[in-house]
Symmetry: C2
Subunit: 131 residues, 2 copies
Amino acid sequence: MAGALSIFNNMVEYEAPQLNTVFHALGDATRRRMLRDLAGGERTVGQLAEPFSITLAAASKHIKVLEVAGLIRREVRGRLHVCRLDPGPLATAHEWLSVYERFWTSRLDGLERLLREEDAAKPSHPKGDDQ
Amino acid sequence: MAGALSIFNNMVEYEAPQLNTVFHALGDATRRRMLRDLAGGERTVGQLAEPFSITLAAASKHIKVLEVAGLIRREVRGRLHVCRLDPGPLATAHEWLSVYERFWTSRLDGLERLLREEDAAKPSHPKGDDQ
DNA sequence: GCCATCGTCAACCGGTTGGTTGAATAAATT
DNA sequence: AATTTATTCAACCAACCGGTTGACGATGGC
């Protein structure tokens, strides 16, 4: 049943080292744009660098960051370095965030959250249940 | 219909500045652990710092990073700074990642991805459709 | 063989990060 | 009033980040 998704159960906590590099890689707009372009198919290093007004060397560094984070795979074809999206780490990050999904859904979104903010200032709260 | 979720449509591209700070904040295991603790309810700065062998000043900096990323709200009660999770930016990040969801689902997961990797080395691929 | 092209590497630079220490602020306790 | 408790602030540090430049290696076209 579970298939590939079963990998993610209990993977969230243990793969913390991966999360460091993945979230760090995603924390830069240039790299996010590169991933967006790679969602359209394979791209060479030069193609990925083209939208930006940075040197090829700088783009090369960004691509290496994405690569060590496992977000892309590189295949050298002659003198071209062809990059391809690897969605695995994105899925891991998505899965990690999903743990918090209940906080922005199920009667905690929109107006209700604002009301809760007002509420928290008053004495009613007994104590947050300990983790 | 969409309700609070409709906010996120077309928010992904424009709120890029937020994504920078949010993903950066998530790129640190200490801060992720703090968020996990905050998922259990309100925590003071001291309580958040307790699991780590760092100074309170260092923890205070981490908390400020989470705060400017919008991931937590702080409320000063007497001499205690009580922190509370704000799920909004987490939802934004989750939404951003969801754009790539099709890459790890729908016949691109598990074995099929491996086969695709083998496949890409051969001439069959005509050209990735642009964007 | 020659030259242009694609990409990396190494060195450097200013800014940021995560950590420390020590002093400062402010509120609760005595 | 004196002290303890909770937290921030300022200064400092080594490490890292994103960018540049210039040199280098390898491939492909002529």
